[in-house]
Amino acid sequence: MPTLEMILNGKEVSVEVEPGDLLAHVLREKLGLIGTKISCGEGECGSCTVLVDGFTVTSCIYPAMKAHGREVTTIEGLAKGSQLHPIQQAFVDVTAPQCGYCIPGMVMSAKALLDENPHPTQEEIRMGISGNICRCTGYYQIVEAIELAAQRMAEEGGAP
């Protein structure tokens, strides 16, 4: 069994995996990080989105071994203790989550977007979450939350 070594949410992690394991399953079943959700299992809905070296990937079809030696960020890596990440806080403040199943993936897509482009236009936000399907919200409050987060993060001036 190969060993997958990665920086997971800022910490070095080493875990035995099957060569064919997919990242989402390793995160959920071997590392207990259930915030990464599996919905379609085919890379078609974005619920399982995590960041690998800062880029979004659909972890339900991403071979876990690809993450070897990489930095992986999941939804659990965003909040600092009781302090939500500004994106998470904005989602709460504008009442963006409904059922909440797509939300971790949405937040991760938003994170990648704002890391790359701290002042996105509405169109850029839409592009940024165009790989994430939500069945509840119609997306408007999600876009609004990302706009609010970008604005707050700019005001705070600090790095996200």
């Binding site: 880029f55 979004t56 079809i61 991403y62 071994m65 940024g128 790989g131």
Partner: protein, 296 residues
């Protein structure tokens, strides 16, 4: 299930791994299609040779009058590349419409070709650019026109259990050339197209000098509308020429009925619309209208 997952550090090492481990070993790059094929039981290979850590394959660069795109380059990187956006915009547009951001971050342009689907947006763009692929085998490397890589739907002549494509190359567009990509799909993201079309044209002295029109999925491989392109040569680069060439392209394209994509009649009519729109934009660019290709 897979038995092993290997990271070679050179093309030679990758080819050695294929050789050493036999028929159940294969190349994997982004793996976005492979993971699905595996789930569907359509890919029996059990040892993966992951080429995404081989240095040198990550480049997008201009050499010898060609733009080269390495086998590790993702759709997102192509779509964002200033070089490709300015000198082969059709490919940036095509790659920017594949899947969603997550798939574009992982899936490679070379993989889009190797997967050999006639609807693949990247491959349609490359076909219009008359691109070539460098095939690396144990016997050596050779350049092959990408249109020769198709052995049928989903079947590439380069067997990923024996060889790999290391890079792609195509001529950068210059003055007097223009390009465009058009796509029709059932929604605006996360979807394969009903139809797509990519064109590259050259205009000189008020007449069309060169043209290449690629259309998918209307045949078992990216379809090149040769008759339409040939007819265009010598024509004035105007709307009427675009319309007539599009009509010719539609006559030769043979989309099949597809329960999920639509009727043959509709898609044939749409070939005409898409090719006309692409040609109109490309001819305008080539004629120096709309700011030229550098700003497209």
């Amino acid at each position: 299930m897979w038995d092993d997952y290997l990271f070679p550090h050179s093309v030679k090492e990758a080819l050695d791994m294929l050789e050493a481990r036999g028929a159940d070993v294969r190349i994997i790059a982004g793996g976005t299609d492979l993971a699905l094929q595996r789930q569907g039981g359509r890919n029996p290979a059990t040892v993966m040779v992951d080429i995404t850590r081989i240095s040198g394959l990550e480049r997008i660069e201009e050499r010898d009058g060609y733009i080269h795109v390495g086998a590790r380059v993702t759709h997102a990187q192509v779509a964002a590349s200033p070089l490709i956006r300015s000198r082969a915009g059709v490919l940036a547009e095509a790659c920017g419409s594949v899947g969603g951001p997550q798939i574009r971050n992982v899936g490679t342009l070379v993989g889009n070709v190797v997967n050999a689907l006639p609807a693949a947006d990247g491959a349609i763009g490359l076909t219009a650019l008359d691109a070539q692929a460098e095939v690396a085998e144990r016997t050596g490397r050779r350049w092959t026109p990408i249109s020769d890589l198709y052995a049928g739907v989903g079947r590439c002549t380069v067997d990923s259990c024996q060889a790999m494509i290391t890079q792609l190359r195509f001529k950068a567009l210059g003055d007097g050339e223009g390009d465009a990509f058009e796509r029709l799909a059932k929604r605006k993201a996360l979807i394969l197209p009903i139809l797509n079309a990519a064109v590259v044209v050259g205009v000189d002295g008020g007449a069309v000098k060169s043209a290449r029109i690629a259309i998918g999925p209307v045949a078992t491989k990216p379809f090149v509308a040769t008759d339409a392109a040939e007819w265009l040569i010598g024509q004035a680069p105007d709307a009427a020429a675009a319309a007539n060439a599009a009509k010719l392209a539609a006559q030769t394209a043979e989309p099949r009925y597809s329960l999920l994509r639509g009727s043959a009649e509709y898609r044939k009519s749409m070939v005409e619309v898409l090719v006309r729109r692409a040609l109109t934009r490309a001819l305008a660019l080539a004629s120096g209208e709309g700011g030229g290709h550098a700003d497209s």
